[in-house]
């Protein structure tokens, strides 16, 4: 699969280098050096994934992230020079699926990009229920009482991972591996932030979640099926 990747980064050298690496791995990189133009480029190129620097001239990275997220569920991976908690959490909360801290190795970058672009190729149609939700895995659709709930691919993957084994409690590390594709322990804040985002979309009352339930000191599990 030849995925198109939009690289939004003001550092020309880095953007070009990322382009070289991605191209050598068979991706189709498109480079945008400015935050203000990012959204136009995004609409024009319809990429399969966005690599987004958080510190941009013009529009701020988190702002660009929010705008893209507002109209698309496309995977967004942030490039950040700051690994400080606040910045990362801010980026994740504005809609990014994952982040890579500078400096990163080409292999890491490619692995992150691949993980986000991978599609679960389930050969057989699969239908799951979780709480009062219907999950059509093959069709990538989540419905409640026949009404579709729009989820990003990452949120969908997270929900499916939990729904497939409703009897199992998933630790954050396991979820990182299943959903994000991390093989080593990484930042569990990724899980926390995305669980919050997922809850805000699917829970009737995000303050008292019933579909994605927190198991204190361990992790998360699917709530009881109510239909």
């Amino acid at each position: 699969m030849k995925g198109r990747v939009l690289v939004v980064d003001d550092d020309v050298a880095l953007a070009e280098m990322i382009g070289i690496v991605l191209r050598s791995e068979g991706f189709d990189p498109v480079i945008c050096p400015d935050g203000d133009e990012a959204l136009g480029m995004f609409r024009a190129t319809q990429p399969d994934l966005v690599l987004l620097d958080l510190m941009l001239p013009g529009k701020d990275g988190t702002e660009v992230c929010r705008l893209i997220r507002a109209e698309s569920g496309v995977p967004i991976v942030m490039l950040t020079a700051k690994s400080d908690t606040v910045d990362v959490v801010l980026g994740l909360e504005s809609g990014a699926d994952d982040y890579i801290s500078k400096p990163f190795k080409p292999k890491e970058l490619v692995a992150r990009v691949r993980a986000r672009l991978r599609r679960s190729d389930e050969p057989t149609p699969e239908h799951l229920t979780i709480g009062d939700l219907e999950v059509d895995v093959t069709g990538h659709r989540v419905t409640r009482d026949g009404v579709a709930i729009p989820l990003t691919p990452l949120e969908f993957d997270l929900l499916v991972a939990l729904a497939r084994k409703p009897w199992q409690v998933f630790t954050r590390e396991v979820l990182l591996e299943r959903v994000w594709g991390y093989r080593h322990a990484a930042d569990t804040r990724l899980v926390n932030v995305h669980v919050q985002r997922l809850r805000s979309k699917i829970e009737a009352d995000p303050e008292r979640p019933e579909i994605v339930v927190t198991v204190r000191g361990v992790g998360y599990k699917a709530g009881a099926t109510t239909r």
Binding site: D11, L14, A81, K82, K102, P103, F104
Partner: protein
């Protein structure tokens, strides 16, 4: 009774102690006490002197009167006796004489007339206005009167209803024609003088007490005026020392105290200014380190990727270019590690490091760290022996930080074990969880152990950096331990290896008092040894020859 005494003694002791405490702690108490003591002594001496002088004066004056009067009376009596007709009954004459003498003179007096002792049985007559007073005439006086011609006197105590009153007995004699010599005694009471004296003494004492009280009050007032600004200065200084740099003294008026307050405030002002400047500088410097680290990251990323691309295609390059690509890649790793550590340290320095604590079993964290260190151990030919308790050793920790600490300790131990085994021991008690990492390698000298947590410190500068540690690993580890409220301590002996002990409180808020594991190995305990106490956050940490990330 004994109990009462014991009680009194104890109470007295307590009172004394309290007083001594106050005496030492309060300038005011000392000044007032001294003033009162000096005042009381002065008043006592002065009062005693005055009262003595007055008493002597009163007495002398009255005595003179008394002597004049009695001499006059005696002359009169002699005249009466001489003029009496010879036929007069001696007895009757004398009775009349005594009666006449008693009412004469300026006031009350008693009169006693008697024959000299041992002067024949002719008429052993004794006449007295009050016979009870006769024993007051002492033998001494009688002898003197008998031997002398004029008057003799002696002070005596006169029994009264209220006790003994002062008085003077004056003795003289009259010649009775034909009957010879009779001793004539007058007893004068000095009670009125005594009363006057007592009154004067009372007035003097009252005056003295009033004066001393006044003195005390004045001293209290004066010392209060002096001491209270000093006290307030002390209070403000204390607040300043506690870090309340905006604290100032109140300035009233133009006197010396106001000058003190103004000078004090100026000092506080300049102190605050200095501290602020230092803080600004320090913040600026920390910001700079942080910014530099961040700014370096973007170009470093580009370089790193370029290096990797070159490295990936190194087989197609000439030997020199190939080796260059390899060196570039490995050194970039080191550079990156250093940058990451520098950033971490700058975060600690800026106080921006935050504990992301969760309840975890320390055994799991140790297992993860050991797993991570296995490749290096295998490469160095070192055995890793891990001993963990059977029960879960849960604690509120930031697993990322604790694992980093353990990784640093393990890499450090493996590096210095020189092929011998490294032992990792975990233990827990109700308060704390401890992990001891012990190697049997080259060990450390005391002065090395002291510096092991210093930044960029290297035990032996000539030593090759085989693992390419950044020099910040142990410094960061110590900061991580402190962030948990824990300890990171070290022990070492040259040739006997070294031990590092990480002790973490099991729950937030527990203040560590002891560790579940001994730092010094039991087989080393009897020999000379050296340990470093946990350094406070002020003395920064770290061992360079040890770390690798």
């Amino acid at each position: 009774m004994r109990r009462f005494w014991r009680h009194t003694r104890v109470r007295l002791l307590l009172l004394t102690r309290m007083w001594v405490r106050r005496w030492r702690s309060s300038l005011q108490v000392r000044v007032i006490t001294s003033t009162l003591a000096i005042g009381l002594v002065t008043m006592g001496v002065l009062g005693g002197f005055l009262s003595d002088s007055i008493r002597d004066g009163l007495f002398d004056q009255r005595l003179e009167e008394v002597l004049d009067e009695s001499a006059r009376s005696t002359r009169q009596a002699q005249g009466t006796v001489d003029a009496a007709p010879a036929s007069t009954q001696v007895q009757q004459l004398l009775v009349d004489l005594v009666e006449a003498l008693q009412v004469g003179g300026s006031g009350e007096r008693d009169v006693i007339l008697q024959r000299p002792s041992g002067q024949g049985p002719v008429l052993d007559i004794l006449l007295a206005s009050d016979e009870q007073l006769v024993p007051l005439i002492s033998d001494q006086l009688r002898i003197e009167v008998a031997e002398a011609d004029g008057q003799r006197w002696q002070s005596v105590g006169i029994p009264t209803a209220a006790g003994i009153g002062p008085g003077v007995m004056v003795g003289s004699h009259v010649e009775l024609p034909g009957s010879g010599r009779y001793e004539l005694y007058y007893l004068y009471s000095f009670e009125p003088e005594q009363r006057t004296l007592r009154f004067v003494q009372g007035v003097l004492a009252a005056g003295a007490v009033a004066l001393v009280a006044l003195l005390g009050a004045m001293t209290w007032l004066v010392t209060r005026q002096t001491v209270s600004p000093v006290r307030s200065a002390a209070r403000v200084a204390e607040r300043l020392a506690d870090g309340h740099l905006t604290e100032r003294m109140a300035v009233h008026g133009q006197d010396e105290m106001a000058t003190l307050a103004r000078s004090f405030n100026e000092m506080a002002e300049s102190l605050q200014e200095q501290i602020r400047r230092m803080e600004d500088l320090s913040t600026l410097q920390r910001r700079f380190v942080s910014d530099v680290s961040h700014e370096l990251r973007t170009p470093l990323t580009t370089i790193r990727m370029a290096g990797e691309v070159l490295y990936a295609s190194r087989d197609g390059l000439e030997p020199a270019a190939k080796r260059s690509a390899e060196l570039l890649t490995t050194q970039l790793d080191r550079f990156e590690d250093l940058l990451a550590d520098l950033l971490e340290i700058s975060r600690f320095d800026a106080g921006a490091a935050m504990l992301d604590a969760e309840r975890r079993d320390v055994r799991d964290v140790v297992a993860a760290a050991v797993d991570g260190a296995l490749p290096l151990a295998a490469q160095k030919g070192t055995w890793l022996a891990v001993q963990v308790p059977d029960d879960p050793a849960t604690a509120d920790i930031d697993p990322r930080r604790v694992e980093r600490v353990l990784r640093n300790l393990l890499v450090n131990a493996i590096e210095h074990a020189e092929g011998t085994s490294v032992e990792v021991t975990v233990a827990a008690d109700s308060q704390a969880v401890a992990v001891l990492v012990r190697d049997h390698g080259v060990g450390m000298r005391p002065e090395e152990a002291q510096h092991v947590f210093d930044r960029f410190w290297r035990a032996d500068p000539a030593r090759a950096r085989t693992t390419g540690g950044t020099g910040l690993g142990l410094a960061i580890s110590l900061e991580d331990a402190h962030l948990h409220g824990g300890w990171l301590e070290t022990w070492g002996r040259p040739g006997h290896g070294a031990a590092f002990r990480l002790t973490l409180p099991r729950r937030a808020g527990i203040t560590l008092t002891s560790s579940p594991l001994p730092l010094v190995p039991q087989d080393e305990e009897r020999e000379p040894q050296w340990t470093t106490p946990t350094s406070g956050p002020a003395s920064l940490p770290d061992l360079d020859h040890l770390e690798v990330r």
